[in-house]
């Protein structure tokens, strides 16, 4: 039979309708996440718990350990780590929710409608990104209540929010890729320990200057270190566009890679299904 089919581009809708589709699917994704406290609450509480333990147990470390120059409180240092950890945790929902849609048949409902196939993915990731922004705002507000002030002021806060949004695209994109490849929620959940290894082997919780040996070497070459450090600079030192650009460009680069992979996985799934 002819080639073009079920994963086709022939949706026959204008650009405005496609934007509406993405908006509606993104809204669905956000609602779905917010209506499942079991999904977002651990992603807020766990980083807070780690920050509270670290601050209580090692709060004085900022006074003598290398790499904490200019840091007044360990909580200042951990703000970006908490945001990163929370987004890495919460962004997995983009994958698990996609597998739920596949397993329950809701994905088929979407495919049987004249929705642009890309809108399905973009809507899901848009939802993850907005959720990431909300997570960042919660941490900025909460840690602010405990005395954390962003040295770069409002622009620095906006940069943190932007960073969280793009980081959500990274983790959401990779999670969606895995979900579309496997259709298995378990496979997506297995990303969780991997993200934690990447997080703990970076400068998120301690500066690389305070590390030693191969651990320090891995952390120094971990892209997450460059992403976190660039944002932390805004919190600790002040507004610096080159630091922000370094952080955001790495994050955006990974986001492009993740979205490209997820889109390929979507196309492959559509081909397999047909």
């Amino acid at each position: 039979m002819a080639a073009a089919v079920v994963g086709d581009r022939d949706v026959g809708l204008g650009a405005r309708a496609v934007v509406e589709q993405v908006r509606a699917l993104g809204l669905r994704s956000i609602r779905g996440t917010l209506r499942q406290p079991q999904v977002w609450l651990p992603g807020l509480l766990f980083p807070m718990f780690i920050a509270a333990v670290n601050t209580s147990a090692m709060g004085k470390a900022v006074e003598f350990l290398p790499g904490f120059d200019g840091v007044d409180s360990l909580l200042d240092f951990l703000l970006v780590a908490s945001i990163t950890q929370s987004v890495l945790f919460g962004g997995l929902a983009a994958g698990t929710d996609t597998t739920t849609d596949i397993q329950t048949g809701f994905f088929d409902r979407l495919l049987a409608s004249p929705v642009s196939r890309t809108s399905i993915l973009v809507g899901r990731l848009m939802g993850a990104s907005v959720t990431g922004a909300l997570q960042a705002l919660v941490f900025i507000a909460l840690y602010g209540a405990f005395g954390v002030r962003i040295a770069a002021g409002v622009p620095g806060g906006l940069l943190l929010v932007a960073y969280a949004m793009v980081l959500a695209l990274v983790i959401g994109g990779f999670a969606a890729l895995l979900a579309l490849r496997t259709g298995s929620a378990e496979a997506v959940q297995n990303m969780f320990p991997l993200t934690f290894i990447v997080l703990f082997m970076s400068s998120a919780f301690f500066p690389t200057e305070s590390m030693e040996g191969s651990y320090r070497s891995i952390a120094s070459h971990n892209p997450l270190t460059w992403m976190v450090d660039g944002m932390r600079y805004q919190v600790i030192v002040g507004l610096d566009w080159s630091q922000a650009a370094m952080s955001l460009s790495w994050t955006a680069g990974l986001a492009v890679l993740a979205i490209f992979g997820a889109n390929r996985a979507l196309r492959a799934r559509l081909r397999r299904a047909t």
């Binding site: 002819a2 509606a24 048949g105 979407l110």
Partner: protein
């Protein structure tokens, strides 16, 4: 003008397995077409091909005048689909889902809200429209599923086993809604494994077995073609022989229980009273009378040599 659904030589293979082995079908405008068959016969595979969710391995299918392969987008804009198991996001409210479905079909937000109100009212879900779907009963979910399938006013509606698992009240309500839609001009393609459902709703049916259409046509004509009404009378045991002798004149004997005599009524149900009077004249009091019309199960059995397992609609206790 072309028919809403036209299928020629449709084939679908999964590796070495041939799930659909050359199906030809025509569904005419404004009819309810029942697509019957046991589990695994190929019903859902055919529906998935007709709704563009699955590419045919061979053959041609046109829905609403569009080829399901080369004009899949046009097909999707023209059809409403309520798939098996009512795949509905339990975290959303009924109203949110209707609005989402409308937007996916390119309908503006205000128009989507207007249509949503009308549809939710129509399927009796207005009061529950702000509740999350996860709190809905099975019947409510099916009705919402139907509303979602109708939001863009499709010309062809696919219902894939729409009443499976529903209680009798919900099933009757859904049947009534399907009839109403059909009266308003919607062509309905209904798959079911319940013979009664097809018998009650469909103007024409096709029976699929092992990936092939084994019978197609008007259910009444198909049933009439496979046999006669079955008359069964219960009499006193010592009068069984006499009763058999009397009823022989009205039709051929059929298998029956110890205290009953059964025949296939040769001249149709109109002769029941004559047969009963003949028994009375012969001095055989009749304790009980049963008259069974030929069923679609008889049609299936005649076509395939076996009965359609699980084809009876379960009662309220879930028994078939």
């Amino acid at each position: 003008m072309s028919h809403p659904i036209e299928v020629e030589g449709l084939v679908r293979r999964f590796g070495d397995i041939v799930a659909v082995a050359g199906v030809d079908l025509v569904v005419k405008r404004g009819e309810i077409f029942g697509f019957l068959g046991p589990n695994g016969a190929g019903k859902t595979t055919v529906v998935r091909m007709l709704t563009t969710l699955l590419r045919p391995s061979a053959g041609v299918a046109r829905v609403a005048g569009h080829d399901v392969v080369s004009a899949a987008g046009a097909v999707r804009r023209s059809i409403g689909v309520a798939l098996q198991d009512a795949a509905i996001d339990p975290l959303m409210t009924g109203r949110e889902l209707v609005r989402l479905q409308a937007v996916l079909h390119g309908i503006g937000r205000s128009e989507a809200d207007r249509r949503g109100d009308v549809l939710l009212e129509r399927v009796g879900l207005s009061a529950a429209s702000h509740r999350r779907v996860g709190t809905y009963s099975g019947g409510m979910r099916r009705r919402l599923d139907l509303a979602l399938a109708l939001v863009h006013e499709p010309s062809v509606l696919f219902l894939d086993e729409p009443t499976t698992g529903l209680d009798p009240t919900s099933r009757m309500a859904l049947w009534e809604e399907v009839r109403r839609l059909n009266r308003e001009g919607t062509t309905v393609f209904l798959t079911t494994q319940y013979l009664e459902e097809a018998d009650v709703l469909a103007g024409r049916i096709a029976i699929i077995d092992d990936g092939r259409i084994v019978r197609e046509g008007d259910p009444k004509v198909l049933k009439a073609a496979v046999g006669h009404y079955r008359l069964q009378v219960t009499v006193a045991p010592h009068q069984l022989a006499t009763a058999r002798q009397v009823l022989d004149a009205f039709g051929d004997p059929r298998p029956s229980h110890d205290t009953t005599v059964a025949i296939g009524l040769r001249s149709g149900p109109a002769t029941v009273s004559v047969a009963l009077r003949a028994l009375e004249d012969a001095g055989v009091p009749v304790e009980q009378v049963e008259l069974d019309a030929p069923s679609l199960d008889d049609v299936f059995a005649e076509a395939t040599g076996r009965r359609l397992e699980g084809s009876a609609i379960p009662d309220e206790s879930g028994r078939e």
